[in-house]
Symmetry: C2
Subunit: 608 residues, 2 copies
């Protein structure tokens, strides 16, 4: 092995070592701060701060580091039209001479110095999937399905509104920049601005969750905010991809209906395709854990669960879909079905495994963001663009939350109060997904402007909004320090007179019938037997997939576990896990879910 | 981003997806086999088999895969003396033209196709450290220290004997090869043969542990074999490095005293340096967990523990020492000290986290070995060398175990029976470390011969010896199916009349005094107060580092936990964890350890 490769590896080891040290310092100092009841700074903010310190150190102590990155980036900037690249690589950088221009088969040469920086793709492929999976997996199933309609409305409609709002208002600012002569006309086209809008629409579940869990806010607000921030990532990712496709196809200046339809089709195709891929891997995992005795060995159970969930990401990426979106839906459905088939030990192990991945991944990503802010050599700071971005993210958030909440409240009996709406507007923290989307392409000046601005918005929202959340909650008079168990217990005792006949009302939505009558019996040991719910013609199928050992008490057990387990995942820091203490039945769950998620049922039930 | 890089990433994703699928199939099929009481094939053998199937598929279905690897390897074969490399990279391979020969500053260019194979360095840097750490961390502390002397003798003396034996006998075979005209004179020098000897001396803890745990063999045999296989890795790694250094310095044909002394110094330096580095990180972790309230948050506890243990690896690699050796000693000492400071939940999480890493890493490594066996394009099969290797590994194993056991039995009251010795000779399975050491350099024909032969030896020992282990144990009449708890209980009840005065006998070895009087009180809440054991002049130091809350009952708690916890780690598959059921005191531990690990005390105590 040549010395320079060794050298490259040595640097990589040093960088990883630095990252590990930053993570350690972050954990210890933030934890120490919390210990002194100073809860305003959480891990994400701390990690970003120490990442910036590391970046500063690298920048000043190890000056040629920047040069190397510079040269690497300029190498990247070359396009692939050169026949033979004459590579003259010294320890200080690299220069290219073009020896010919015959055809396009010849690819870019990457120098060993490339090893000395993290690839943002590593973020997307290594650290983000477990974080997103963990976010989806730990959503409180009961409250999530109870608020599903509202969450979906915020996530889908809201993200599109937000994207358009930010896009249009930032486009206004870019016109101003052009008018003031700070940019050439045609440098920023509308699609660039919409792309920035899509990137900025992804509110971050990592920092939002950190915030909400730390402050133990009202659980309905928790679910709405967290559910929205998890799901709008999916929409933002696919939207970004669709806009990129559109701008690559059309000229960008004029509206191109064909390209628009193509990218619309792509948006829907990738979203639905990734959703189904994630779900398929859940079906495989659920059937495996249902029909085999894997639960006798929790280590195998956890390993299989982990590998299959990871497969959903990998197969989506390999198939040209969005891995993050697939893993998100996989997490949601694994929590709803497979989780019921796991043994207690397996469930605890799985939860703890993803908790560690999530925690460490979060710290690495945020410290990497801080590091990049100070070491990325070609930041493009455009003051007006940045000002526009800050203004438009608040405007778009307001345009998204208030009107949608108004519309939703028309259908909800259990209204979303004004104070919740204010806090939801306020809590639009941006984080890893926005950063990752912006970092995927920094080849042009426009994309670098977007990247720099995104980094600044992320820093600002994480630090300033993150620190102001606690005072804001007090100002808005929103309940904090809620005990999850107690609150669940309230909900359950409210419902205690309503233990129903066992079957969901047939007027309830399609989804709940599908879920209760077909998916649960197919994928878990719970629910009515498949032989009852499926038509006669599917008798063989029903018998094959019916649970081999459905028993009344086992069913009861499933329900108990289902009620609490996923919920407890989120609250694990707050109190010890209390399992099996709550014995309300699955049917309540279905009653709760029976309002298409508009949140009307709890009150409806209370009124009954 | 250029298309080819995208393409490379796509292939990488596909390859990872294939690896994940292989892991899944391995887990499920081996588990299914075990379910049918067919215990002969364990995960490692299964993983290797499926890896070979994958390799076969890749080789036949995707023919150009091999060519790409070929071209990558031949690119690597170039040394760094060319001034300008004219790189002509097509999708099928790459060709190099040397444009000049001015100086040595110009480095090798790596093509994107490089991404399509795993780098064996990834094995060493990503998968092996947690496996080795887990192996060291789960060693039964009590029995390990009880047999420390014997284990160290086997690991150090044994590995050196084995290395020399294999080296000399394989040198004989290479002379035969030269005589038969199948190789040029001077192709194989003695240092190459010794290098092969060092590589082959690393018996594999992964497969050995799989074997022993599956069959639940006698616990003394378990400890001796597992302890030896963990520690001899360290010796073999450092020995390989020393021999490589020697052969790089000297001509290889003649004895060079200066080079010998240099490499001897390097051997000792790297071994001792890595040991201390591993220990330093344990000291940091232990002090952190002792003096802070990290145990209030098991997630933080586990994360800090994980990061600091990983740091021992990274800092050793960054400092030019051996990361694997550092992480091994770190694991051993973390189990002995830090483990006592963790909360119950933290301990369980840490254990489970490393268990998952170990399990998955093991499967990936062994399937990668199988994959490499069939896809590595430049295997060099030399029949006589291979025959010599198979013969010499058995001869060397016999030359190592029998004489050393004889010598050890002179000092041990609790003799190592003949049947144990036979089984230890038999159970010299080779695995990941041997493979990794061989794979680190495949630049010359000799190294490729070594690599190919190593792969074959690994396959043979894993499959044939692994499958024959059960019949062999029955043939040798060695107890299998031993209940760990029961056996421990026996040991403890044998000792129950011996609950001593509390202080270790001053005639006991230096190590035990150091451990009991200084290290335990310094790093944990157990043992006598530092203010008692340290001299008066160290009063301030003693007061600072004395446990802030040493209490009699707490000490008792520590001891209980210490007795069982690490032991239970290994046996987790066999039975549920029973904590705190055993209440023999630390002093018994020390009595047990008091024979410098020659294993004489249990019988001595029984006689008393």
């Amino acid at each position: 092995m040549s010395t320079s490769v060794k050298h490259g590896e040595g640097s990589a080891v040093l960088l990883v070592f630095a990252a590990v040290s930053v993570a350690l310092i972050t954990i210890l100092s933030v934890w120490k701060l919390k210990h002194f009841k100073y809860k305003l700074i959480n891990e994400t903010g701390g990690a970003m701060f120490y990442g910036m310190l590391l970046g500063l150190t690298v920048r000043f102590l190890w000056c040629d580091g920047g040069e190397r990155i510079q040269s690497m980036c300029s190498c990247r900037g070359l396009n692939g039209t050169h026949h033979i690249l004459m590579v003259n690589i010294t320890s200080h950088g690299c220069s290219y001479r073009h020896a010919g221009k015959l055809n396009q088969k010849y690819t870019l040469v990457q120098t060993p110095s490339h090893k000395e920086t993290f690839d943002p793709e590593v973020l997307f492929n290594l650290f983000l999937p477990p974080i997103i999976f963990h976010g989806a997996y730990t959503l409180n199933q009961k409250r999530f399905t109870g608020n599903l309609g509202s969450i979906l409305t915020y996530a889908f409609m809201g993200t599109i509104i937000s994207c358009v709002c930010i896009g249009v208002s930032i486009y206004g600012f870019t016109r101003l920049i052009v008018l003031l002569g700070q940019a050439a006309d045609g440098e920023f086209v509308l699609t660039d601005c919409l792309l920035f809008g899509a990137i900025m629409s992804a509110t971050d579940p990592v920092s939002v969750l950190g915030l909400l869990t730390e402050l133990r806010v009202d659980l309905d607000l928790h679910t709405l905010l967290f559910g929205e921030s998890v799901l709008n990532d999916a929409v933002a990712i696919v939207l970004t991809r669709a806009i990129t496709t559109y701008s690559q196809m059309g000229a960008g200046h004029t509206f191109d209906p064909a390209a628009f339809l193509h990218s619309l089709g792509m948006f829907l195709g990738v979203l639905v395709g990734s959703f189904f891929l994630g779900f398929i891997f859940t079906v495989i995992t659920a059937l495996l854990t249902k029909f085999t005795r894997l639960h006798e060995n929790p280590l195998l159970e956890t390993s299989v669960f982990f590998l299959l969930s990871w497969s959903s990401f990998l197969s989506a990426e390999a198939g040209g879909l969005s891995g993050i979106v697939a893993v998100l839906f996989c997490g949601l459905s694994q929590a709803r079905y497979t989780n019921l088939n796991l043994s207690c030990d397996g469930r605890a192990r799985t939860k703890q495994l993803f908790e560690v991945f999530n925690f460490l991944g979060e710290i690495f990503i945020f410290s990497y963001m801080g590091y990049t802010l100070l070491t990325f050599p070609r930041h493009v700071f455009k003051a007006l663009f940045i000002a526009g971005a800050f203004l438009s993210i608040f405007i778009s958030r307001a345009c998204n939350i208030y009107p949608l909440s108004f519309l939703l409240n028309l259908g909800r009996t259990h209204k979303i109060p004004r104070s919740f709406q204010h806090f939801m507007v306020f809590a639009g923290l941006r984080g890893a997904i926005a950063f990752g989307l912006a970092a995927r392409d920094v080849s042009t000046d426009v994309r670098r402007t977007i990247f720099t601005t995104t980094l600044l918005v992320v820093c600002f929202t994480i630090w300033v909004l993150g620190m102001a959340a606690d005072p804001m909650l007090r100002h808005l008079d929103i309940r904090v320090g809620v005990d999850a168990d107690e609150s669940l217990h309230d909900l359950s005792s409210d419902l205690s007179s309503e233990v129903g006949t066992g079957r969901p009302d047939t007027t309830q939505g399609l989804w709940h019938r599908l879920d209760y009558k077909y998916l649960k019996p197919l994928l878990t040991h719970c629910g009515p037997p498949l032989t009852d719910s499926l038509p006669q013609c599917c008798g063989v199928f029903a018998r094959i997939f019916s649970s081999p050992h459905v028993q009344e008490d086992e069913e009861q057990l499933c329900e108990i576990e289902n009620d609490d387990s996923t919920f407890v995942l989120e609250e694990t820091k707050l109190q010890p896990v209390s399992e099996g203490g709550d014995s309300r039945s699955e049917h309540q769950d279905d009653l709760l879910e029976g309002d298409l998620g508009l949140g009307s049922v709890p009150v409806h039930v209370r009124e009954a």
